[in-house]
């Protein structure tokens, strides 16, 4: 049996010690003497969160399929262990071998949300790896970042040696081959970085210089050596049939946030909502073959013993073979009590029929995401959902026995007026009325329950709203107050509940999402002051960040509240994300006019993703 990095006496004094022992079912164990590349794959949050992430399992599986590579996992130590590791100078270790990360070839960090940035510094710090790439030498691992936040890597640029832009399945094989070869040849770290910069999708921040004008905006961003390309191209997987897929995912030791098999049924989305980064950067929308999905579902369930499978995608209702897949699962696992969960369904007659099969109507609630209260604003954000279809979905749901409804909205959207905000309350009222009008008294199992949740809109890179100013904290809080008040005025207000997101953490998210290289100073200072686990409300301390902005002499409003001209050079413009800038500009204009753009199945809008010759761009054309 393996020796653990932490002594029993430490494991017995911390919360959930099973987070740190590894050795799970399906974890990859290899003989380190027989491999060339040791890769530590990190999700910079606690074990239960990181182990719920599909992307990590995909890359872990893909890397470990290589005979020359041993990929291990690393997660953020929780604050209790963090304190002990600092006190006793215990280096951060990977779960499988329990050996220090600092001795690995690579530390790969998946960057899924902005509020984990200080946790990235924690990982580096506890690993005893210098925080800044410029301070690392041949003895240190190469630190590489990836994931959606790598689409604007600039705020993190000084902390990483490399970034991988796009879908990991595409270019990592070439990347690792290059590393293995150069390691054998005894090449230096710099020689490898120069070679890596020429692999499609790889960005080496040190090879680029940024310049800023008197007004603070970026004026130039260019490579400083010939090996670095002017633009870094997002990598796209076009052939799912031959792509690696984790048929035996690691089974977490303790209950993960997503304690189930995750099956990705399609990648990308045809909808083109203008606020949604995922809907833009994962284009084209690509369906996976249903026969392939059947096999993957069976393999994963049998190899893990999970009792639940989640069919994941950005918009599951758009998957054309959904019914066939569900029928298969029901038949194949008859009598074995396997549950199916289907997030992100649009509420209509078809999906209600599906949901009745997979959930207990009396206990569950239905989720609608109109995102905006008025039709005008829904058109601005290109959420192709009308009030009629929402009410019709609600009617069907109520007649089907549901009486709990959750509604998700955003506040602070571009062009939003107080009237738009109030219409959220009016929509909730109409839904309540639908219940009392449509469901006969004797069939009601109680009062209708409507939960309205609002988040604080954050403009993201590579969306048509990347130029838009964020609403100020004051405006956002005023809108929250206006909505609360308006809801109180509704006839059925007693059936309604209202939750809203905290403003402090979201405005920071806005700063990090569209920050440039100078933002790194603020992150480093906030970490130095003690910021960590910012995504966890009980550990988020806004005052540390306020201090960090002051110490770094940076103005958050410049990044969050400023309206950017379309002509401005954006910090992430050097990335070719697959969609053309002209498309985003056009969509931004159409948003301002309130024009709806049809979805990819209705009509091609020429976003540029067609050059990948995959998915919806070629459907019915070959």
């Amino acid at each position: 049996m393996r020796n653990l990095a932490l002594k029993d006496e430490i494991l017995l004094q911390i919360e959930k010690p099973a987070r740190y022992i590894g050795g799970e079912v399906n974890a990859a164990m290899k003989d380190k003497g027989e491999i060339d590349i040791r890769f530590a794959m990190c999700f910079p949050d606690v074990y239960e969160i990181g182990m719920s992430h599909l992307g990590l399992q995909i890359l872990y599986h893909m890397f470990n399929e290589r005979e020359d590579t041993w990929c291990e996992r690393v997660f953020s130590p929780w604050t209790d262990l963090d304190a002990i590791m600092r006190r006793e100078k215990i280096p951060l270790f990977a779960l499988e071998s329990q050996e220090p990360v600092k001795n690995f070839d690579f530390l790969g960090i998946t960057i899924q949300y902005e509020m984990c940035y200080t946790n990235i510094l924690q990982i580096l710090d506890l690993s005893q790896i210098p925080l800044y790439a410029k301070d690392r030498d041949e003895s240190h691992p190469l630190v590489i970042g990836g994931g959606p936040c790598a689409f604007n890597p600039e705020p993190l640029a000084p902390f990483f040696d490399l970034f991988y832009i796009g879908e990991g399945e595409a270019s990592y094989p070439a990347f690792l081959d290059t590393y293995a070869r150069m390691k054998r040849e005894g090449r230096s770290r710099m020689e490898f970085l120069e070679a890596a910069a020429q692999i499609p999708g790889i960005y080496v921040p040190a090879f680029y210089d940024a310049e800023y004008g008197a007004d603070g905006a970026l004026t130039s961003f260019a490579p400083n050596r010939p090996c670095a390309p002017d633009r870094v191209t997002r990598q796209v997987l076009t052939d799912f049939a031959s792509a690696p897929y984790p048929d035996a995912p690691v089974v977490p030791n303790i209950k993960a946030t997503q304690d189930r098999v995750t099956l990705e049924i399609q990648r990308g989305c045809i909808r083109g909502c203008r606020f949604c980064q995922a809907g833009m950067i994962y284009r084209p929308a690509r369906e996976k073959d249903v026969e392939l999905l059947k096999k993957q579902a069976s393999d994963m369930l049998r190899n893990t013993g999970h009792e639940e499978i989640s069919l994941n995608s950005l918009s599951s209702s758009d998957y054309s073979q959904l019914k066939e897949l569900l029928d298969f699962l029901q038949e194949e696992f008859e009598g074995e009590a396997v549950n199916v969960s289907l997030p992100s369904l649009r509420i209509d007659a078809f999906s209600l029929q599906i949901m009745r099969r997979i959930q207990d109507v009396k206990k569950s609630s239905l989720t609608f995401a109109p995102e905006a209260g008025s039709q005008r604003l829904r058109d601005v954000i290109n959420k192709g959902l009308t009030q009629e279809s929402i009410l019709e979905g609600a009617r069907e749901a109520f007649l089907g026995g549901w009486r709990r409804v959750k509604l998700y909205f955003m506040l602070g959207l571009p062009s939003e007026s107080e009237e738009d905000v109030k219409s959220i309350a009016h929509l909730a009222q109409k839904i309540a009325e639908t219940y009392y009008d449509e469901v006969p008294k004797e069939q009601r199992s109680g009062k209708v329950q409507i939960t309205v949740s609002t988040s604080y809109f954050v403009p993201k890179p590579f969306t048509p709203f990347q130029w838009a100013p964020m609403a100020s904290v004051e405006t956002y809080l005023e809108r929250v107050a206006a909505l609360r008040e308006e809801m109180r005025l509704q006839e059925n207000h007693k059936s309604m509940k209202y939750n809203w997101h905290e403003a402090d953490v979201t405005i920071l998210e806005g700063f990090l999402a569209r920050g440039d290289r100078r933002a790194a100073k603020v992150i480093a200072r906030a970490y130095e002051l003690g910021a960590m686990y910012d995504a966890w409300s009980e550990h988020f301390h806004p005052e540390l960040w306020t201090q960090a902005f002051a110490d770094a002499d940076m103005d958050i409003d410049f990044y969050t509240l400023r309206s950017r001209e379309v002509s401005e050079l954006l910090p992430w413009d050097f990335i070719d994300a697959g969609i053309k800038r002209e498309f985003l500009e056009r969509e931004w204009r159409r948003a301002q006019e309130g024009s709806v753009t049809p979805n990819c199945r209705q009509e091609c809008s020429g976003c540029g993703a067609a050059r990948h010759k995959g998915g919806v761009c070629v459907e019915g054309k070959n």
């Binding site: 049996m1 494991l11 013993g305 999970h306 009792e307 074995e336």
Partner: protein, 235 residues
Amino acid sequence: MKVRIKFSKRGPSRFLGHLDVMRYFQKAVRRAGIPVAFSAGFRPHMIMSFAAPLGLGIASDGEYFDMELSREMSSRELLCRLNEALNEGFQALSAKKTPEGKKHNAMAITAASGYRIRFPEEDRQRWEQMAGQMEAFLAQPAIPVEKKTKNGLKTADVKPGIYRFQAAQGEWDMLLAASSASYVKPRMVMDAFAEYLGTHFAPHDYAVHKMEVYANTGTEQSPVFVPLEDLGEDI
């Protein structure tokens, strides 16, 4: 048909808590393709119940759970399939058919647990010396121990729950009450013994290894302790 599985838990898996061990075996049983029975209802669950929970960090060679099968499977096949599905630290040791009914559940019939206390070799002398005081310790009229309860600290006499406490083969051997009415943890006994000797044990001065779980087939006054697995028969 109800079967009782005996298993061991060693090494890193000692740090999996009771609920996680239950989840672990639910998944293992599915991976093993064992025909386990499910409850009725919209969210059926496996009919499975565990004997007493094991403290975190303690190794054991005597853990048990019972499960209901929807069709018969031989002991041999059950063990084979289950061990195939288990990994590092877990091993299934026996699979026996047991009487039906809730009152025969492993949890319901558990009366005592056997433990071994192990010491680092370098401290051997100290421990052997102390062992000489065991008889006198047990001869006290009462052994009061402070227990944490919902209503704060309470003092309880654990003496009736110490069925055996002796040195054996360089280790200390304990048999302690483990029923719902009376439950004595090895650490309570060690702490009481330390206090009696006027000393103190740090938790890491010794390791606790659970050896077996017993049912009482005798009476309260003259108990007869039988390992849980012996109450079942091979299939």
